[in-house]
Symmetry: C2
Subunit: 210 residues, 2 copies
DNA sequence: GTAGACATGTAATTCGTTACATGATTCT
DNA sequence: AGAATCATGTAACGAATTACATGTCTAC
């Protein structure tokens, strides 16, 4: 039972993001980007649900050039619900990292590919730290904590990569044939036919592109 | 297009986890726990798909007391498919942290609740680091990198919490009425009736429990 | 005796994302 | 002219978790 989209929206409203469009930005580029994600397809239905349950109010605002806006606000009932959700026991953090999983199989890649991957990965975290550093204003202590942890966490993760990559890259250079084991002796059970092989490779490539 | 369950299983097979049961442990308690998750409901169908596509082989093994085992092995075609998947451009890491999101709303909690939450959170990461430190053997350099990063990353995140919590806890003590804003002046638009209020609170509570 | 480890699998449900639909305005 | 920003919403789709179903053996 993780925090669901309704609670996430309620939190965003409490933090001062008051339209569907703004809420998405809060999770995409704003203070919550590191810790949760939420897209339009979840936000707008959630907002309507909150409205129906009396946890939020809405005032429509016509604008000069721009399309009409629906400005939402959290109600007292909404704050009660949010507080209630914050008392529950949380599922522990889950980092979904395709990068790290991939690096586990460095022995299947060329050393160059590994190095490029590590460059890109570390840079991604440094960029994230910079983005978070740009957040302005004087938020309440909790959100300040969020930003501080985000900045430092990203930087120290990037530093950690740089500290450990040399050992990895060294091991790949000196270790057993790093990349040449492309086709080892075929397994004796079920002799994978050439047709099967290409079929499988083609399927994988096709699945990746669209 | 994140790495899907088939690729994840392929990776686990390459890493030497060769039954559905073992693969789950690799993602639950083993070297991958920090970076990906996968449960039985995904693993067994994925394994059968890999078998059908010739990316893995399977030998059934009857056992003394225990139930029968299906021992899988990655094929050359499987290794090609895995390598192919590792070349793609990855979606950037996404940390799902209900803890951190909750702490953003520290101003809605009692200082005690915040402190308890932070204790629990930091301890969770220290425990994780210890679990990872217990991993034995001499894995290939990529998996060693995974373990090293995991241990240090968890520890430095825990340290980061301890370093920043004092500022947060201080701000909550000295700041504006920390917890007493339970019910502020009702919003003038849409005067939330008492019936609506309790209704909403009840609905939220009910939604959380089952 | 009862809880937990070992072991595999399926089906329903719950989610959320992606893509689509619409449309004016401003910046390049 | 074309791309990007602002702005809201829906429907189809995909993917994973949860719960269910089954059964033995060992350790407390």
């Amino acid at each position: 039972m993780p925090l669901d989209s309704k609670i996430l929206c309620l939190g965003a409203l409490d933090a001062g993001f008051n339209t569907g469009y703004d809420i998405r930005k809060a999770f995409e580029e704003g203070p919550f980007q590191l810790y949760q994600s939420l897209s339009y397809g979840s936000i707008y239905p959630a907002l309507n649900a909150l409205l129906a349950e009396g946890l939020a109010t809405c005032t429509e605002q016509a604008q000069d050039g721009r399309p009409d806006k629906k400005v939402y606000a959290i109600t007292d009932a909404g704050r009660v619900a949010l507080r209630q959700a914050l008392v529950r026991r949380f599922a522990f953090d889950r980092l979904r990292s395709d990068f790290m999983f991939a690096i586990a199989f460095a022995h299947l890649m060329s050393p160059d590919q590994v190095s490029t991957l590590l460059d890109e990965y570390a840079q991604g975290y440094r960029d994230l730290a910079h983005t978070l550093a740009k957040e302005t204003g004087t938020p309440p202590p909790g959100r300040q904590f969020l930003l501080d942890m985000g900045r430092e966490g990203c930087l120290s993760w990037a530093r950690c990569i740089e500290e450990h990559r040399s050992a990895l890259e060294e091991a790949l250079r000196t270790g057993p044939g790093p990349d040449d084991n492309a086709i080892k002796a075929p397994a004796e059970e079920e002799p994978a036919t050439p047709s099967r092989l290409t079929e499988a490779a083609a399927a994988t490539t096709a699945a990746g592109s669209p």
